[in-house]
């Protein structure tokens, strides 16, 4: 039990004193998670709106595929992306393996179905009276689209926060594609895995605290926005 307490005390020291390897992992995590979140949101929001709002042939099948993608194992995404960006893969020439952009690709694939499915479900849950109310007040197509999105803003925020939770805590993709290279592609999660294996609990706990703090800030921001 003592080593856990000691770990906590040392962790606070590492963070306060600005340990370079710890902060390098924190910054790498923030970079890949924010980049992948921006790309997956930009692609997932319109896709989710289209899937939720319109009726088209094959919609049910598409929903089944998207729902299945929610449970996609991260090591499988890592494997596929690795195959594509490794030297002999079709994207090998871009030299993305063991780089942060390579991790971003994998995390975007992980987050995209989360944003799409939650957005689609939110749009499907819109009160049918809303569209009729907007039409009866004279709204055209553009007003209907933007007002609908604004009305479900909390649902969309939930989608983004969920996706962020998924990408910031992910370890399989970061490990396989990033290679866990110190000061380069080491993220918080891969660092925790490594430090734990080495018996360096303090470093692991320090990084874990940062991860929890990030999650706390994100959720706090969400509840602040809800109150607004």
């Amino acid at each position: 039990m003592d080593f856990i307490v000691e770990g906590f005390i040392k962790a606070v020291g590492l963070l306060i004193n600005g340990d370079s390897s710890t902060w390098s992992a924190v910054i790498a995590t923030l970079k890949v998670s924010v980049c992948s979140l921006i790309i997956s949101t930009a692609a997932g929001l319109p896709c989710g709106f289209a899937v939720g709002y319109f009726d088209f042939k094959g919609k049910k099948q598409l929903r089944t595929v998207l729902d299945t993608l929610l449970a996609l194992p991260t090591v499988f995404i890592g494997l596929v992306v690795y195959a594509f960006i490794s030297r002999q893969g079709p994207l090998g020439e871009f030299g993305l393996l063991f780089t942060l952009p390579g991790i971003v690709i994998g995390l975007t694939i992980l987050a995209f179905p989360v944003v799409t499915v939650i957005t689609a479900s939110t749009i499907e849950g819109i009160d049918p009276e809303l569209k009729l109310t907007l039409v009866s007040l004279g709204a055209g197509k553009r007003h209907i689209l933007f007002t609908c999105l604004w009305e479900v803003r909390y649902g969309i925020l939930t989608a983004i926060v969920n996706a962020y939770g998924r990408v910031s805590t992910e370890v399989g993709i970061a490990m396989m594609i990033g290679g866990n290279i110190k000061y380069h592609t080491r993220t918080i999660t891969t660092a925790i895995a490594l430090e734990t294996n080495k018996g360096m609990f303090a470093d692991g706990i320090a990084l874990g605290l940062v991860l929890i703090t990030i999650a706390f800030i994100v959720n706090l921001s969400l509840s602040f926005l809800r109150k607004q």
């Binding site: 009160d127 009276e129 809303l130 009729l132 109310t133 039409v135 009866s136 007040l137 004279g138 709204a139 055209g140 007003h143 007002t147 604004w150 009305e151």
Partner: protein, 340 residues
Amino acid sequence: MTRDPSIYHLKNIRHYYGQKKVLGIDHLDIRTGSITGLMGPNGSGKSTLLKILAFALKPTEGRIFYKGREESGFSPEVRLRVTLMTQKPYLLKRTVFDNIIYGLKIRNDHQNLEERVKEALSKVGLDFQTFSQRKWHQLSGGEAQRVALAARLILKPEVLLLDEPIAGVDAKSAELIRKAALKARDDWGTTLVIAGHDLQWLYSITENQVSIFNGNLFPTGIETIITGPFDKTGDPRFVKKPANGQSLLLKAPGQNEENALIRKIRIESLDQPFTDGINRLSGHIAAMLLEKESTHVLVTALVQDLSFVLRLAPDQVGSLGLYPGKSITLGFDPEDVEWF
């Protein structure tokens, strides 16, 4: 050139949900500046008709003329002149003020908003200081209904369509909604079409009434309609048996006709006893209300679960000594039945 007195003219309107026909109106005229009551049971097609009148729903078949011009494409110009308040009006997830100005913003009308919101809220009996900055979830059912009405009144519409505006609201809100709707007609000549179940309230505000049943329109107002199932008798006639052992004989229907409309219903009295061959039914008076325009009295009588409506002159009501709860005998000729 003479001005068309009808703001709406509907011709051969048919609307289907899937295979099911929900509306079949051969002809309907609504006069400019009139207040029309739309009555009928749930699922009769009232809301569908109001959506069509609001240009929010295109009928499967038929033609709609608005101010004499056929509206096939539901142009933005015409949609901006007509507004509908649905049965459960949706308030946007924002403040009362922002809800009320939403329609104006769509019209790019940003002038003097505060003053106009103040005026719209006062029309529905809500205080600007107290309510304008309230969120949508901080309102009671009646207040939300009145805010929704204020959001329509601020547009000064040519046509205001209200779908069961007092369903689930208290008496005070119902009265305020009535006054606000009447003021819209008096101040701006707004044409009103109001659907509802509360006949007393509806008759207190409307000038003419149409009833709708199974998508069929009856322009004469409230009607007595008997629905199936019917039993066949030995002769060509059909019989309907209410639960208490009484029976009604009706002339045979035509093909695909399922509902019977009965118009010439009388109440038996000592002076006018029924002759043989007349359907005689024992029941009691359930409700009586004054028809504003004609000053006739609408008497609703119940025979078990069947409801009969009679339109009587006030002196007839007096001579028969009618009052709610009184037991009476109703009668009508089996041949005085229209099937549809």
